[in-house]
Amino acid sequence: MVRWQRKAQRRAVVTSAALALVLAVGACSSSGGKQEEQKADGGSGNVATTPRMKVALITHSKAGDTFWDIVRRGAEAAAQKDNIELQYSSDPDGAAQANLVQTAIDSKVDGIAVTLNKPDAVIPNVKKAVAAGIPVTVLNGGLETWKQTGAVGYFGQDERIAGEATGDKLKQLGAKKVLCVVHEQGNVSLEARCQGIKNKFGNVENLNVDGADQPGTQATITSKLQQDKSVDYLVGLNAGVTLTAVQAAKDAGSAAKVGSFDMSKEMAKAVKDGTVQFAVDQQPYLQGYLAVDAIWLSKTNGNSIGGGEATLTGPSFVEKSNIEAVEKFATAGTR
């Protein structure tokens, strides 16, 4: 074969391979796309006719976290309804998150929704945004600090109150010794939850695990249950860790029961079939939704949701008795 023929042949192979790849990718994304479409259909009935706005949602989430995915969905739903273009970004590092706020100011957004879980790093830039006339809302973290920034509203739960409610719940369920599984050592919100449980319940021990390593978390919880046989209740502080804890209890041959914070598809199933007794739901969808909607209301009508006070989105308990009402939303990834 002459060279150009071989070349042409090779080119044909490459082209068809590329085509096949495009088709395959197209096939994959079309199923995702269909879901997006269906979701969009729900909200597309009433889209605001107010001028198009650009809002930045800036969180401290690491990538690939289910909880923050639900927050983002809530924000997207509100953005769609309000004719807003939503720009989502996140960075677990405080300084980097602060810089994202600066980027939003620079790109002249019409509003910023931000988490203040790393308050000292992020607040200076939030104040700058407010000074530049950009309305800011705070969500999820920053209950103690949000007012000093001049933000128009706060949407989240009081972690200590949520913990205390959990403590009461555990008392009511007849627990004797509780293990509070902390999946991020030194996270203020998580510590506050365990402290809240301790305030109301008393006999609580914390256990640090690495939330980004599920098999390792499982082994660590198993070994703790082997070490301390008096533990009869485990509380996980997010859905993934709790489901791992269920497995760990089985491994350790422990009869300990399990409670949780946060919802997910799998968690709804576990609550329904009784492997998890309860889940404290802070309604992340609502946090994202309200944080964006509040900006729109503030811009278009001068409203402030909460009237200058924090709006609490939790704690609400999801249990066997009310799982029916929640399950379908959890399965769709919005609760």
């Binding site: 976290d65 995915d69 980004a212 499982q218 070490q227 799998e266």
Partner: protein, 348 residues
Amino acid sequence: MASTIATPADADDRVSARSVGARLLSRPEIGSLVGAAVILVFFLVTAEPFRDINNTGTILYQASLIGVMAVPVSLLMIGGEFDLSAGVAVTTGGLTAGIFAYQFSVNVWVGMAVALVFALAVGLFNGWLLMRTGLPSFLVTLGTFFILQGLNVAVTRLTSGAVASNSISDMDGFGSAKAVFASEFKLGGVTIKIIIVWWIVFVAVAAWVLMRTKIGNWIFAVGGDAASARAVGVPVKKVKIGLFMTVGFFAWFTGMQLLFVQNGVVQSGEGVGKEFLYIIAAVVGGCLLTGGYGSVVGGAVGALIFGMVQLGVVYAGWNPDWFKAFLGAMLLLATIVNLVVKNKADAR
């Protein structure tokens, strides 16, 4: 290696017979073995549940989670390179299998096969780009690390609409695959997860390849001095690419364990930071960061030390605030014991 430069001596001491003790002490893993023994005794004394034989299975499981990947990572380090993408590659392996099987509604084993091909391709890409460009492996695999990390989250969101893959636990082939990768059995009252068995098999095979075959010699040669290795006819390129593909294979294997132990769901953000644990296990086990020296058994002992310390702190019931500090101190202790023993051995 320093030992290749023989000082001039009257008698040729390179061929003189050495005692069994001296030969044993000059093995790379001996220091870590002593370190492991020290840690073991320490926790046997301080942590009461550590003495319960039934808990051995839990400790070995923890060790195997790092240990399986420490096998190829040790080999790669002996070969003079390291791989920063190894941690997220594990997550990629699990995700690829899960997502492919779910999206195309095919047998789980088909998804696994696709994931294996992809994992090997990632290794091939790392090795090929490294040899092609001559860039340090630090840069090449750092790039792959970010690419995979981004792909994991983006493709998962694109296909499932969420950041965790859809569960494949009710699909054809899940049961049989789970039996292979994530089942468990009882051995005299101790629950043994099957990955521990696989780990032991992998260590044995890899140690044999490294110590008893031509390929093993090649690995030492390319890690010690790639230029001279090339000069004496060692296929440097093939060996290094092969080593990266070995990492790819093991990342796939560990990814399968991740997938099947979690009921067919993989969270897309996982795995970041695990690459350092694999490297730590290899280094604690006596592999040099500069290549050309080390052992597979050492890497396994390094993983064992890590597992023992991690769970030992829990078994001892210490205040959890101190957890990471204890962990770091223990690892340093193990490494220093390792160093002291090695120096003693070299001085003989």
